[in-house]
Amino acid sequence: MGGPVSRWANLAGALGLFGAVAAVAVGLPALNRQIPAVRAVADGRYEVGAGISVLPPAGAAVDVTGTRPGPTQGSVLFLLGSVRYVVVASGPTLPGGPKSLVEAERRVRQKIAKIRGYQVTGGTTPISTRQGVTGRQGSYTSPGRCGWYAVFYSPAGVAEVTVSGTDQALRGAMAPIQASVAGLRFKALAD
């Protein structure tokens, strides 16, 4: 089995093993929390993904940890103060995607309702972009915050928008955000 020397070596090895696992599972997240995620947004349209782009509201910053652009799907998380403005885009060829606006909206409402403490409130009303893509909009609440969602469905893809913030913060931010949402552009429709 080995004497004291090999037992010390075994202990050192075991501590190294533990340290390596801890470095990955705990160390990396801790390091991640130390580095800020917010970046300034360049002027002009922001490519969300799947050929869908948006014009960020003035003063918005982007949280890179909630942002993942891609050719068939993508997401972006804008921050206006404490208000979170998320756009999730998916292309028409994405497997398992919604087949209609009704289904797309149902999925968004389900996604919101699944989060603990979140509640979809009231009914939904129609909305459309300047490009003419139709959608539905509604509202929701979460602990200490209010929220608004919109979902747009077209042959060129689906865009889901969620906005959340305190009541006071939202009052100041909703107008520029809704203007930004109205400016959602589906590249395949423009071509």
Partner: protein
């Protein structure tokens, strides 16, 4: 130590007991990590089980069953010198609970870090190729290191490292696949339905299963095995080999996850399969070659141990040749079946198992076979030998490899069938027909028929699965 390359295998010293691991600090650290990992795994699955009980349960069952053929294959590699089941369970548990849960957290954090330090776009495109291999191969390889720290004396050869690596990777693969299946159900947004689970099973289980975590970890595990066993080499050399093996696992994983060939060769099934084969076949071929080489070296060691007893009643020259490889052992059993029916095949199976156990007993500091363990297996061998003599089949050797025109056609068509599905069907049919006929007329089969059946069958399966996925809009 045996003649030839004496340090290829380091037998477990006689009198080694599982309980001796309890005295090692590493045992308690690994146990603690397994406990923590188990807690996190249960917590991670609590919400899916509550939200999608049917889909999650089906995923758990499907992917648990999926592990069975892999475990059978790993077990067949390990035929001569079996690894203790408890250690294999530890390795699988490490992969499933420690590596998988740590990787989930580590991958997320690493992806965020990459997005912060480079860009979100870079992270989307290259993140899976850089982060996945780095985090996951490290954590899985640590599983084999854990086995070495708990029970170093049970890692007797490079092949043992391969086995522990493969089992660690398999545990990881199963849990990861279940997580993907549950995510697919959630993304589908259609409630508790098993459709997305089945689709994930086909995609990740079949199309991605052969050349995935099990394979990559087997390679990295071989490096750990080399480091542990080859103490005739200096530490820098052993570290270099272990490092290279890890790098190889990392590189294959990187290639598999990379965006290269992401657009494939067109949207059709052929295009999808071509990319899979280009990305998957090279690592599969290389690792199978490594496994074959490691297995041959280990087999040569144990066969030499048995040969040194110099008693043809224990093992004839032909039986020693057959004992060394899986397909020759199977051929010997089939030959016995051809001549003596099922009883003959069973006796040969028992004889082979007893010969393997005797070889291990003799190699553990008992070169004359006088110890209790050796005597026990000698008694079994003698009993089986008497049965074989009684059946007029005194030697359990494999017949000479038989080549037939049907076997050549089956193999050739099987190779063509990789790219032409109808031909694969013909190859599989030809192979199956030839094997059934051989069995019926009680003649040893041409093993090229088996190769044709396997190649053709696998190709048909891959094509069918790919077609099914495309038809359901899954890829």
């Amino acid at each position: 130590m045996r003649a030839g390359n004496p340090t290829v295998v380091r037998p477990t010293p006689p009198g080694t007991r599982p309980a001796s691991s309890l005295h090692r600090p590493a045992f308690w650290v690994v146990l603690g990590l397994l406990g923590i990992g188990a807690g996190y795994t249960v917590a991670d699955f609590r919400q899916p089980l509550a939200s999608y009980p049917l889909a999650t349960t089906v995923a758990l069952i499907l992917f648990a069953l999926y592990a069975v053929p892999f475990l059978w294959f790993v077990g067949s590699l390990d035929y001569l010198e079996r690894e203790p089941p408890l250690l294999l369970l530890t390795a699988g548990g490490w992969g499933a609970m420690v590596a998988a849960t740590a990787a989930a957290r580590g991958n997320r954090a690493a992806a965020d870090l990459l997005a912060k330090l480079v860009s979100p776009h870079f992270t989307t495109v290259w993140g899976p190729a850089i982060i996945g291999p780095t985090v996951e191969e490290l954590l899985k390889t640590l599983g084999v290191v854990a086995i070495a720290l708990i029970a170093r004396k049970q890692i007797n050869s490079v092949l043992d490292g391969v086995v522990y690596g493969a089992v660690t990777g398999l545990g990881f693969q199963v849990v990861e696949n279940i997580q993907y299946a549950v995510s697919a159900v959630e993304l589908a947004g259609r409630g508790d339905r098993i459709g997305p689970v089945v689709l994930t099973f086909l995609l990740r289980g079949f199309l991605g299963g052969l050349w995935s975590h099990t394979l990559f970890s087997a390679l990295a595990g071989a490096g750990v095995g080399y480091f542990v066993v080859r103490t005739d080499r200096g530490r820098p050399a052993r570290l270099a080999v272990a490092g290279l093996a890890f790098l190889g696992a990392w590189a294959f994983h990187f290639g598999w996850n990379s965006p290269l060939l992401a657009d494939g060769f067109g949207p059709g099934i052929a295009g999808v399969l071509t990319v899979l084969l280009i990305k998957g076949l090279p690592p599969l071929a290389m690792i199978l070659w490594l496994v074959r080489s490691a297995r041959q070296r280990e087999a040569a060691y144990y066969v030499t141990a048995l040969r040194s007893l110099g008693d043809p009643m224990i093992a004839t020259s032909g039986e020693l040749t057959a004992l060394a490889t899986g397909h020759k052992r199977a051929a010997a059993r089939h030959y016995a079946y051809a001549r003596c029916g099922l009883p003959g095949s069973r006796v040969v199976r028992r004889l082979q198992r007893a010969q393997a156990r005797l070889a291990v007993a003799v190699s553990r500091d008992d070169p004359t076979g006088q110890g209790d363990e050796a005597r026990r297996w000698l008694a079994v061998i003698r009993a089986q030998r008497q049965s074989l003599i009684h059946m007029a089949h005194p030697e359990a050797a494999a017949p000479k490899d038989r080549r037939t025109p049907a076997g050549r056609w089956a193999l050739g068509l099987g190779l063509v069938g990789i790219v032409v599905p109808l031909v694969a069907l013909v190859a599989a049919g030809l192979g199956a027909h030839g094997l059934i006929r051989s069995r019926r007329i009680r003649q040893p089969a041409d093993n090229w028929l088996t190769a044709g059946l396997l190649l053709g069958g696998l190709s048909v399966l891959l094509w069918t699965v790919t077609y099914a996925i495309r038809a359901t809009g899954g890829a």
